[in-house]
Symmetry: C3
Subunit: 117 residues, 3 copies
């Protein structure tokens, strides 16, 4: 049976799941009510932390999906933080859209997958 490793597992979700050389992260969010920039920074810090826990890092990202509560208001600010965070030459396949998130105080949610080394 192929092995599945779950990180920070609860009754509702795991923050990360590893299978067959890929880690799948749950949607990461920042501090409720903070700005688009601040929430993006917090989200990417959480992504870095979970990738490290899984034994990999942002140079091995495969995909990233980004949801903003208001794409008109937040797209530029999110991208400014995002572009500074991405490892040069290692950008993932990405898509971005607008969606209301779990509570109105969440402005940014990012979901990534990455390959293990």
């Amino acid at each position: 049976m192929s092995e599945i490793t779950r990180i920070e597992t609860g009754s509702r979700m795991s923050q990360a799941v590893i299978h067959n050389g890929i880690v799948y992260l749950a949607g990461q969010v920042g501090a409720p009510g903070a700005s688009f920039s601040e929430q993006t920074k917090a989200v990417l810090a959480a992504v870095d932390r979970l990738l490290a826990e899984a034994g990999t890092d942002k140079t091995r990202l495969l995909t990233a999906q980004i949801w903003l509560s208001d794409i008109g208001a937040g797209f530029a600010d999110m991208n400014a933080v995002w572009d500074g965070w991405v490892a040069k030459g290692h950008a993932p396949a990405r898509w971005t859209g607008e969606a209301k998130l779990a509570t109105p105080d969440y402005k940014v949610e990012i979901i990534v997958t990455a390959a293990l080394p």
Copy 2:
């Protein structure tokens, strides 16, 4: 050539696609017009059925994305059903947002991936 198996295939989509030890399910929906709770139950029954057809089950979920037509109105009800359904210790990486679905009568759509045994 790596093998691809398609389950309940039509001209628009397959309800499940198996490749390299992972099954990818199409978005599952419940009975149009039913409550958030009822639609969530129907969706998860459809997920169970398709996972069984693929030869696996909910203990091997990797990811789940959940879309609600009204996240303010449906989040708590969906989660109550979801939390009761998840196999203890086997929760997937999850993310949830609000999106209008194919018709206004659809309130819940869930898309999962799972590992085969």
Copy 3:
């Protein structure tokens, strides 16, 4: 270390990422302001082109997610183009929802994964 190949890579995203026999495409969009039909045709042409660059084609699609800026206005038109494009017997697992995209002129965004031969 498992190999990752990135296609059309920039500082923000790669248009496609290949890892372990699967290609992950970034969200593809069409010409801003064009109709739902025209944008869908352009998106699928971009998908065909990127799959070819990755060494595969639409007969090996695994998943497709489709976002429309107005699902009531665009679902039928998008599906008419989509259904004609899908390779008979090779339809992916699919899900579709409504989301505002990067700018209001984008009406259709499609994100696919496919297996390499």
